[in-house]
């Protein structure tokens, strides 16, 4: 292949490098109103009264909107397929506050300064209610966070504070344990963590010359934004246009309808354009984050080390509202239980409400939490049985040709589709990683001294889109210079998907990528796409691109034959060439087709819904040094080897791994959102919430092994999420290898490590 699998300059690279006006906020805002949200200072309570008079009296304040200005309408902020599997438990402005940061009102004015002043002048009186901050206290608590009300839907059991629930069993798990030679059990914890996109949530809205509402927003889901805003504000979808410009990162945080409806409401109320941007602080408490989970695994094995039974129990904290409450924990289960084969499998999961910020989608979408537990307990089992953890894993993987039963049971909020593995490069990933980390030497070397070095590993799987739900569609048309417009709803959130998809089109059409003009994510000018999430874009939309490009190629050939007046011809080097040597270039075919011969526009549309979702695989190895006097952990090296099928763009795929690894290292060692005893967030800036920055990064080796996935475009599978699943458990396992301390709760802070060392008395 000439284009697929090759390093290619990003289609948006030059404009980004030159600092062109490409992001949401990069436009003149001469007449824009500035809007800010007034957030709840209490974790749980009812608004008794709101006095806006002093704020409205300020010169420059145009409007203040709150729950009194709207009929209650319940929806979910989760940007998911329709009908959404998340509970519809949210309204634009609530009378009841359910977390510190909940929306009280929006203030819009002519400057940010006057709006900030107005926020301080709104007098809100609250009746405080008892609050729940610990997810383990939530279930069946006498305080009910969402007491039953008309309009709510899809909540599993509001009276018990359960937003969503899963109970599934394949085989007979208890019988499997009874028949097992060994049974192991462990409980693992992962906390709230923030996506920390460099660009916060930002939305700009205005009315165009036809009074249509234009929403320019940093979103991963423009079509869901259009549908949900139309529903909330009760206006036709056709009256709304959503434009997604370049995005400064999303990582799931922008798979949410977060402020688009509020900004739109201001514009509709005032008739004026409006801009609403979150601060970094608001990102921490009023946007979305990773769901905290408590995951218990119980695993039964026989003496031959083959698994007999797996029982997985999840308790998840979804915060004050339930976006993604069901599907995140569903993915925690379905992705982890798709890695190892056991005849008996059981999942019990509850997502419970608390009076903390609502969590949402975050890269990996539940899989990082699940894999921290699974790959930690696999290491513990290997240790206790005195076997090599790699050999234990290799004995139990699902293999090519095998069906993964859990996939059919756990779909996206409903029954899924069968997965029969047609490509699986896990062994190659492990073997390459083992070599690059120098596993056999470092794992077995004597550990002594103050600074002790250790290695750990984890193997993980993910998926390639959501089978039967994710859909991509594209439109390709030909231009006179032999270039092609590739219009698609797919959302490039900084990942480079526009480039990867252009490469697929270029490969089919036999062109350099420069000949493909990408226009994406504009609900007026590009066809429908469910959005950028679930590692779907390359696999699902890529297949649609390939299909449409093949249709265009076929039309070019037919049109060329007509123009050449021949029965048979083929395409060679951007020309249609007949057997007798006559030829015509792409350019001439298009010009003649426009103006003189057999006039037509060469164009094609294609959609793709996949009922397959082949798992990509990854093996991650970590090399760490533990300071046994302080408990500090230094990560020396991470090796991440991924099977993504045929890699479309190696450079960008490496970038995906290199971006995911620091996020998972943060999960392992430094990141957790914390709250005081009133539910108020404590660490809402980067001085107090520690993400891995460039100066903190260890050496990274990110490589790919080649497999050929028959259901994917040119053999491709997904790459976006999978590299985030492995580093955290690999680091936990490496710490154990270094100093014998097993920490089952992220982040693995130095104090936890030192306490463990002290208990071991080493």
């Amino acid at each position: 292949m000439k284009v697929v699998g090759q390093k290619t300059r990003r289609v948006d690279g030059l404009s980004l490098a030159k600092g062109k006006a490409v992001f949401a906020d990069d436009m003149p805002k001469k007449d824009f109103l500035f809007a800010k949200i007034l957030h709840s200072p209490i974790a749980h309570g009812k608004i008794v009264s709101i006095d806006k008079s002093k704020a409205l009296a300020l010169d420059g304040i145009e409007t203040i909107l709150s729950h009194e200005d709207f009929e209650p309408h319940y929806f979910t902020t989760a940007g998911q397929g329709y009908p959404e599997p998340s509970p519809r438990d949210t309204s634009m402005f609530n009378k009841t506050m359910r977390f510190v940061g909940d929306r009280v009102a929006v203030v819009a004015g002519t400057s940010l300064e006057v709006v900030e002043e107005a926020l301080a002048l709104i007098d809100v009186k609250y009746e405080e209610l008892p609050a729940i901050f610990d997810m383990e206290d939530s279930l069946d608590n006498e305080t009910v966070i969402h007491p039953g009300k008309d309009g709510f839907s899809f909540l599993h059991d509001a009276s018990r504070n359960i937003a969503a629930n899963i109970n599934e069993e394949l085989g007979d798990v208890q019988k499997g344990f009874d028949e097992s030679d060994y049974v192991f059990e462990g409980t693992y914890y992962t906390p709230y963590a923030q996506q920390c996109s460099i660009e916060p949530h930002i939305t700009l809205t205005w009315l165009d010359e036809n009074d249509r509402l234009i929403i320019r927003t940093a979103t991963q889901v423009p079509y869901h934004v259009r549908r949900v805003v139309a529903e909330i504000l009760d206006i036709p979808v056709g009256k709304i246009r959503v434009i997604k410009p370049r995005i400064g990162g999303g990582f799931g945080g922008k798979q949410e309808i977060l402020n688009e409806e509020v900004c739109s409401a201001v514009t509709l109320d005032t008739g004026k354009p409006c801009r609403l941007e979150y601060t970094r602080e608001e990102e921490f408490y009023a946007a979305r984050s990773r769901h905290p989970q408590k995951v218990t695994y119980k695993i039964g094995l026989n003496k031959d080390l083959m698994m007999q039974s797996i029982d997985m129990e999840i308790l998840q904290n979804c915060g004050g509202y339930g976006p993604h409450a069901l599907t995140v924990m569903s993915v925690s289960a379905s992705k982890t239980l798709a890695l190892y084969r056991a005849p008996n499998v059981k999942v019990t999961a509850n997502s419970v409400y608390t009076n903390l910020p609502p969590a949402g989608a975050y890269r990996g979408y539940g899989a990082p939490q699940g894999y921290f537990a699974l790959e930690s307990i696999m290491d513990e089992i290997a240790e206790q049985l005195n076997v090599d953890p790699i050999e234990l894993r290799k004995k139990n993987y699902f293999r090519e040709g095998e069906e993964v039963p859990i996939a059919k049971v756990l779909g996206e909020g409903r029954e899924g589709f069968p997965v029969i593995l047609q490509s699986n490069g896990i062994d190659a990933c492990i073997d390459r990683g083992r070599e690059l980390i120098d596993w056999d030497t470092l794992k077995n070397e004597q550990k002594s001294g103050v600074f002790r070095r250790g290695v750990g590993m984890a193997t993980v799987a993910q998926a390639s889109g959501i089978a039967g739900i994710d859909m991509g569609s594209v439109f390709i048309k030909m231009n006179e210079d032999g270039s092609f417009n590739l219009n698609m709803g797919a959302t490039d959130l900084g990942t480079g998907s526009d480039t990867a998809l252009a490469q697929i089109a270029a490969e089919v059409l036999g062109l350099p990528v420069e000949k493909i003009i990408v226009i994406s994510s504009d609900t007026d000018t590009t066809p429908f796409d469910t959005g950028a999430y679930a590692s779907s874009t390359t696999y699902v939309t890529g297949a649609a691109v390939k299909k449409a490009a093949e249709d265009v190629l076929s039309q070019i050939l037919e049109q060329g034959k007509k123009i050449l007046e021949v029965e048979e011809a083929s395409i060679v080097n951007n020309h249609v060439v007949s057997k007798d040597g006559k030829s015509i270039s792409y350019e001439d075919i298009c010009i003649k087709s426009f103006y003189t011969d057999h006039q037509t526009q060469i164009q094609a549309v294609a959609s793709k819904v996949s009922y397959d979702s082949p798992p990509p695989y990854n093996a991650t190895f970590a090399d760490v040094t533990v300071d046994t006097e302080t408990g500090f952990v230094k990560v020396n090296k991470i090796v991440s080897i991924t099977d993504s099928g045929q890699v479309i763009n190696p450079q960008m795929s490496e970038g995906q791994a290199e971006g995911a690894i620091p996020q998972s290292l943060g999960m392992a060692l430094s990141e957790h959102m914390i709250f005081d005893d009133k539910g108020r967030p404590i660490n809402t800036d980067f001085e107090n919430y520690h993400i891995f920055t460039s100066i903190d990064m260890p050496e990274i080796i990110a490589e790919f092994v080649h497999t050929d996935e028959p259901t994917g475009p040119y053999g491709a599978k997904a790459v976006a999420e999978i590299p985030i699943n492995g580093p955290a458990p690999a680091v936990a396992n490496a710490i154990y290898n270094a100093c014998g301390v097993r920490i089952r709760e992220c982040p693995i802070t130095p104090e936890k490590v030192l306490n463990g060392i002290n208990q071991l008395n080493i």
């Binding site: 940010l112 300064e113 006057v114 900030e116 002043e117 301080a120 006097e629 302080t630 500090f632 060692l669 430094s670 957790h672 914390i674 404590i682 660490n683 001085e687 520690h690 891995f692 920055t693 100066i695 903190d696 802070t749 130095p750 104090e751 030192l754």
Partner: protein
């Protein structure tokens, strides 16, 4: 700026600037802390940027830093003369972002007085001398400065010091340190300055021959009283870190 700011005052002299200060009027030079905090009780900024110097002069006899010199100016000036200077590393830890180092002044850094600033702990360890304007100009040890007055110059004297060490413990290199210990060896004694997630920077000293692990443990026990427990460590843990840091810098010196 932010909504509560309604006036920027440009005084003619530092003495005038000093007399203008109160709770609603504060000094403004680089502004990196002020802008980050956006304190709504502040209504006026007293711009002293044109009234303080911005240079750094460095020799083995003395390092003299104008209060208006940015952290980056110091790095650019000193790195080529003495790349081993411990303060260089301290500056990079205190302020990892070059963009902010280009803005943040030494005067502002000391005025802010963050105990978790490696710069502050270093300057305490070397007992830097501050030139301060109040009604009159005077010099004062940084350890004794009570925050009153406008700093115009910071000086310290490497030739009076036989060795300097700085140890920090932080969750990540880019994160503020939980514990920072700066230490000097001068003549027959050690001086240790301890900062981090504490309310103040404390200094302890002893004759070298009196220094011991038990002394470190005693100092750590005393010093930790100024610290706060947070999500990255209890006081018991921080006491342990302080003792370990004291031991390590002492052994290195």
């Amino acid at each position: 700026m932010w909504y509560s700011i309604n006036k920027i005052i440009k005084p003619d002299s530092l003495k005038e600037a000093y007399s203008l200060q109160n709770k609603t009027r504060v000094l403004f030079s680089g502004g990196s802390y002020l802008v980050a905090e956006k304190n709504p009780s502040i209504q006026s900024l007293i711009d002293i940027n044109d009234l303080v110097g911005h240079g750094v002069t460095a020799s083995m006899e003395g390092i003299h830093i104008d209060a208006g010199a940015t952290l980056q100016t110091f790095l650019d000036t000193v790195e080529s003369i003495n790349s081993e200077c411990r303060l260089l590393k301290g500056i990079k830890y205190s302020c990892p972002s070059k963009q902010i180092r280009n803005q943040r002044t030494f005067g502002g850094e000391i005025g802010k007085g963050r105990p978790n600033s490696e710069i502050m702990v270093f300057l305490h360890a070397v007992n830097a001398e501050l030139t301060v304007i109040m009604e009159t100009e005077k010099t004062v040890s940084i350890r004794d400065w009570n925050g009153d007055g406008i700093i115009t110059k910071i000086s310290y004297f490497p030739n009076q010091i036989d060795g300097i060490e700085l140890e920090r413990f932080s969750v990540l290199d880019s994160a503020p340190a939980l514990v920072i210990v700066g230490a000097i060896k001068s003549g027959d004694h050690f001086e240790f300055s301890i900062g981090g997630s504490s309310g103040t920077i404390q200094t302890f000293s002893c004759r070298i021959e009196e220094w011991s692990e038990n002394k470190n443990l005693a100092w750590a026990k005393e010093a930790v009283n100024a610290f706060v427990a947070n999500h990255f460590g209890s006081l018991e843990y921080k006491e342990k870190l302080i003792a370990t840091a004291l031991q390590r810098v002492g052994e290195t010196l």
